[in-house]
């Protein structure tokens, strides 16, 4: 079989143009590999076999996308670029948004980010090409594809995928409240809190890290946000924040964060401060100590 020539066409479905600017860098700067590969950028959708789509799919752009899709010849691959295209990001629930993209077309590769780094977009296109090759040869698309470009890196200060230190977290829900794109959900059960960060909804604004009173949530410089469609809902950072049992009354309670205690009692060893005792029992003990 002859080698597949990927023919890329980009469609903007109401993006702010952030992703499109990064796409231009990914497409035309040599160090991102796409410019020096066999990828061809076509100016008519009917010639394309790899669609790069940005934006949350606004009501106004819906008909344009549908029209473009009718002109494509199968098989083709769709790479959704930007958190908007994956989950509508900060625009979710807006009256003018009809997305996300996978409501209207079978997406193959998602590249989360707001905007994603050109490295991520290049990786997304490369993975899209792999999927296209498999489609053309009649193979089944694998559940994951290993990272293709291993020579990319980001500076330490880059605001990438968020992470959580569960030892510092108290499940106060500040991060959940300030997140503009509903990427954080905190659930409670009998054992404690479950802290979820859905990377495909995160816009990497860093609001959560900025407002976190204990410094539990933080951004890493990882830009590993290129995932296949079947990983869309499972690319989640899950952390358990367990309750402790009070040594006095036996009730389950959320212990204060070591980080917060460290900030409040700067001259004391926080490990010696009222360990394993709930706030109610601590109040009683302190009251007895002072007034008994």
């Amino acid at each position: 079989m002859s080698k597949v020539v990927p023919k890329v066409f980009r469609i903007n479905t109401g993006s702010c143009n952030g992703c499109d600017v990064e796409f231009v860098a990914a497409a035309f700067v040599d160090k991102f590999h796409i410019a020096t590969s066999d990828v061809e950028f076509v100016d008519d959708v009917k010639d394309a076999n790899l669609l790069v789509i940005t934006g949350p799919l606004t009501a106004r752009s819906e008909s344009f996308l549908k029209n473009a899709l009718t002109k494509l010849k199968k098989p083709f691959t769709v790479v959704g670029v930007g958190t908007c295209s994956v989950s509508c990001g900060i625009f979710r629930d807006s009256y003018a948004i009809n997305g996300p993209l996978d409501k209207f077309v079978d997406v193959d590769v998602n590249v989360a980010g707001c905007p994603p780094r050109p490295e991520s977009i290049a990786e997304g296109i490369a993975k899209g090409i792999k999927v296209l090759e498999q489609k053309l040869s009649g193979e089944v698309t694998p559940k994951t594809i290993d990272t293709i470009f291993s020579d990319f890196s980001a500076p330490a200060s880059f605001r990438g995928r968020m992470d959580l230190n569960p030892d510092m977290c108290t499940g106060c829900r500040t991060c959940e409240t300030v997140c503009p794109s509903t990427a954080i959900k905190i659930e409670e059960n009998e054992e404690g809190f479950i802290h979820n960060i859905w990377h495909n909804s995160c816009c990497y604004c860093g609001n959560c890290a900025y407002f976190c009173p204990t410094g539990a949530i933080f951004s890493t410089n990882s830009f590993d946000t290129v995932k296949l469609q079947n990983e869309k809902f499972s690319d989640v950072n899950v952390a358990n924040i367990p309750f402790e049992e009070c040594s006095c009354c036996g009730e389950k309670y959320m212990p204060p964060s070591r980080g917060l205690l460290g900030k409040s009692y700067v001259h004391d060893d926080v490990n010696k401060l009222n360990t394993n005792i709930c706030s109610k029992c601590r109040k009683e003990a302190n009251f007895k100590r002072m007034y008994a």
Binding site: E62, R92, D93, A96, T182, K185, S234, V236, V238
Partner: protein, 168 residues
Amino acid sequence: MKIEEFNNAIKTKIAGGYLFREDKDNYGNLSAWITLQDKKDIETIAKTVKAYKGRCVVATGYKNEDKEGHTVIYHFDIDGTLINVELFTENETIVSITPILPSANWAERELREMYAVEPIGHPNKDRLFLDYSIAKGVLNEYISLSKMQLGVSDTDILWNNVKKECKV
């Protein structure tokens, strides 16, 4: 131009009467607030603003909760002084001032598509931003803060999918 001068200029021309007050912001900038009793008098205001070589900066609006109808506020600028004119419409129509002040063009079209308040006599009938599939007056709908902040909506099935597929 002094605010008092503008007040004197409209005093005899406004047929329906109006309330007038001056305001000052934290930086000492003066502005005028005019509440018209008759919404048609906005034409007279626009003509006076034009005579002073002023312009319409923007127009805002909101749906009234206590009485049926909309309040529309035009914000005019005359040589750095802000003149804010408030009017009430009970039947979702206002007299367009775009033929007098072209600077009101986009603001009035926005009022039309966001609040379904029709500027009668506006030269442009097309929508400004929103797609025709979106209902006219979409901002009249109540959108709760919780929905805005937390995405709590009936249609938000995305997190349910995350819950389904993510094994804790």
